[in-house]
């Protein structure tokens, strides 16, 4: 490696080190500023209540006791007796810390019963006692295991003994089934075929499983009770649909609840909820929930934000809703536009089903009837500052939409910045310390970064003011007028530092090429480049040139200012030599 190459690599290496440490410090500052902005947000700003939505029979009834549910952080109520009186969503900024920041994401993935990353090769729910369902990426098969409890000589039951009133000290043996595209078997054989990239629901009820195989673009239904796999609808190659999630759990959540008795239903809704008055058997009951227990209908989320329902009986698809576009600082979220899931920090899809369940003694409950009443969806904006809610009727038509609002009806996307001027100003200044080249990249392509990754971004900042301006849905002219204003401090700082670097480089005698690169680099990378320059500049002590009087470098043959050769007046060697 020659000296010139070595110096260049040294500068690049130093630049990278400085840049990483510098950006880490800036990130920490911006994070705490964001916390300071979100912290004082009043509770009432964070809620969106839609009442009446047309989804719940108890809405507006004086006999109902409890509001609630569904949060934008995917929390659900586990109380089946909760009487719902309104659709309400709440922006939960804890989500941003818990889900978006890297270490928390890892921690959250450890929580019990949480789905593992598919890159581990497995994902499953494990309820203990050998009761689980998982997908084994290595052999491409679904594995379903359930325990069998002895209830008599040579007689076993799937139902836990506690439910049957039996002693808990029973011996458990388990049954395992393997399912591939070609069928279900008790052994993992190659004849079952292989799933390669399935998207499936989250398997709360394990006997039936709906899935979409990405490579084949086909839906399947696996029925472990019947030991069969039904190959269903195949999306044509020209069909632009691309499912990304489906079924139940995680983003598809909502409460389970007991619908009210007929007498408690509001008169206005009686015509809609007539089924609640129908006569049912003693071992039957209606329950409300956000999925079809029978798996005759599976809710699917598309890459575009469109939501559709797949009928696993006739394999038809129909649109049932979409994810609404939330507001942002510089954009307004059009009423009927879809928000792609990758552009949302979080979202929630809550279909509303009423299911008639019949319990069958020692067998699993049987679904007798299912009614779909529509759905509500919520989208948490990329920045995490605004929530949009949409309600759809059973035909998929948008009924109403709500957004989180601050004082004076302004969207929380804007209002959040008004609570703490100090935090807002500090955040703005810290964003302006980001290198110019990354700011411009944030403006141009910040939206290409997935929403949650944007909160972990070090280099390109999609959630910065400049990044948000890049998503401004006004005119291009307006955008480009605001851009220099937002980037002003950054540009001024970079240019000033570049000037200083150039001046110093001239004094210490860097070559023209080096000076040019350092100047351009400092304009592009700002303060981090300046720090790098100070760390890597030659540390020769300059001496005065006898010819021009400027400071010159002793390691150069001639003065880099006037080109004169060396004279060293402080050394006066004698005029004699005694040499061979």
């Amino acid at each position: 490696m020659n000296a010139r190459t070595g110096k260049f690599i040294n500068a690049v290496a130093a630049g990278f080190i400085v840049l990483v440490l510098y950006l880490l410090v800036l990130f920490s500052g911006r994070y705490y500023c964001f916390e300071a902005l979100m912290e004082p947000m009043p509770q009432e700003w964070k809620k969106v209540t839609i009442c009446p939505s047309g989804l719940l029979p108890g809405e507006g009834s004086p006999n109902q006791t409890k509001d609630i549910l569904t949060y934008a952080d995917a929390g659900i109520s586990n109380d089946p007796n909760t009487k719902l009186s309104a659709v309400q969503f709440e922006l939960n900024d804890f989500f941003i810390r818990s889900e978006a920041i890297g270490i928390s994401r890892r921690y959250m993935s450890y929580l019990p019963r949480r789905q593992l990353s598919t890159k581990d090769g497995f994902y499953c729910f494990d309820y203990g006692d050998n009761y689980y369902l998982l997908f084994n990426k290595h052999n491409g098969l679904f594995v379903y295991s359930y325990p069998l409890y002895p209830i008599g000589p040579n007689s076993f039951s799937k139902v836990p003994p506690k439910t049957l009133g039996l002693s808990t000290k029973t011996i458990v043996k388990s049954k395992i089934y393997f399912a591939g595209p070609n069928g279900v078997s008790e052994t993992a054989s190659a004849s079952l075929g292989r799933f390669t990239e399935p998207i499936t629901d989250k398997m709360f009820f394990k006997e039936k499983l709906g899935l979409y195989e990405v490579k084949q673009r086909r839906f399947y239904l696996i029925d472990f009770d019947e030991r069969k796999v039904t190959a269903g609808l195949e999306l044509a190659s020209g069909d632009k649909r691309e499912p990304v999630a489906m079924g139940e759990g995680d983003y598809f959540t909502g409460p389970g609840w007991m619908p009210p008795a007929a007498k408690d239903v509001n008169d206005e809704w009686k015509t809609k909820y007539t089924f609640l008055s129908d006569t049912i058997e003693p071992n039957e009951r209606w329950i409300g929930g956000s999925f079809d227990y029978s798996k005759r209908h599976i809710t699917v989320l598309d890459k575009s934000g469109q939501i559709y329902e797949v009928n696993t009986v006739d394999w038809s698809i129909r649109d049932v809703g979409f994810l609404p576009v939330p507001r942002s600082l510089f954009s307004y979220g059009q009423q009927n536009a879809f928000a792609a899931p990758r552009d949302l920090l979080n979202y929630q899809i809550t279909p509303v089903y009423y299911t008639l369940i019949r319990t069958k003694g020692n067998r699993s409950p049987e679904v007798k009837d299912v009614k779909y009443f529509g759905m509500c969806t919520s989208s948490l904006s990329r920045e995490g500052t605004a929530l949009a809610v949409a309600v759809f009727d059973p035909n998929g038509k948008l009924v109403c939409r709500g957004d989180t609002k601050g004082d004076g009806g302004i969207s929380t996307a804007s209002a959040v910045y008004s609570r703490s001027p100090m935090a807002r100003t500090t955040l703005f200044l810290l964003e302006n310390l980001q290198p110019v080249v990354f700011e411009i990249a944030s403006y141009l392509c910040g939206d290409r970064i997935e929403a949650s990754a944007g909160h972990r971004a070090l280099f390109i900042l999609p959630n910065s003011f400049v990044g948000m301006l890049g998503r401004y849905d006004g005119t291009k002219f307006d955008r480009e007028v605001f851009l220099p204003l937002l980037m002003g401090p950054s540009l001024i700082l970079s240019v000033w530092l570049a000037f200083r670097v150039r001046k110093d480089a001239t004094i210490i005698g860097l070559s023209g090429t080096a000076k040019k690169w350092w100047t351009v680099g400092t304009i592009a990378f700002g303060l981090s480049a300046y720090i790098t320059y100070r760390l890597t500049r030659p540390k020769e002590t300059l001496v005065t040139c006898q010819n021009c009087g400027n400071m010159r470098r002793p390691d150069m043959e001639t003065c880099h200012r006037c080109g004169s050769k060396w004279e060293i007046p402080e050394l006066t060697p004698p005029n004699w030599r005694i040499c061979d």
Partner: protein, 310 residues
Amino acid sequence: MSEYAIQTENIVKYFDGRCVLDGIDLKVPQGGIYGLLGRNGAGKTTIIRILLGLEPATRGEASVLGASSWQLPASVLGQIGYVAEGHNLIPNYSVRRIVELYKGLSARWNEQFFRRLLETFRLPMERKVSQLSRGMRAQLNLSLAMATEPKLLILDDPTLGLDTVARRQFLELAIELISQDGRTILFCSHILSDVERLADRIGILRAGKLVVDCELEELKKRVRKLRVIFDGQPPRELPITEIIAEKRQGREMTITVANWNENKQAILNIFKPASYTEIPMALEEIFIECTASGTDAAVDYEQGEPICSR
């Protein structure tokens, strides 16, 4: 293989803006002993450090045993023994540990020779280097350097701190070493009697330049010190070139001239001195004359003012 063990080309060295070496062209031939002399701060140690790759030169190139000094390969380093001024050994290591380190890393190790040296110098193996006296450190350093059987031995004031007996022992060892074929020694010392005894060639540094670089005998021939007595006042300025030093006292003038030849003799004769005698000089006197004055100004001791600067 080059005929020179050490070769430098226009070595320039600055320390914090102060020039120490100003274009040194040093050539040390293979075999023999080269004595490098200079006053304190002349740059002897700096040259050695540059040769060994311990210090980068500000400008210029240096090579040792055919390899560039700044990137000496391990094979060349294994052929060099070095005794540093101040005897730089790791202070908190014990003597035994230092010896083990040298043994482990050296390309060659003469255990028998080393044992002999240890017995001669009676060095305590378990004591830490920082607890050794200066002389003992010097002895240890010498022993370690010599036990590696180096092809090139660089000694920077090696006898500093040694008593007379130890110094004599060292000199005998050095003579024993150079008696082996092809060995070269670069030797810096302020004890010029030792240098005179050992060295074949002499180099003298002054004002950042190598003002003397020739064989010792040649040096003695080419530097003449003459006491010249005139009938009247000595001439104000003698038009003889390369006067190293000049001293006047009454009618007497003592001049030291470099590269004395017939021309200079003839010029002197023009001034018709009453008499002149040559004062023989040992290396020490030559060194003092060559390095005495920093400004190289001739001084009239009667008038107490400089006559001319050379």
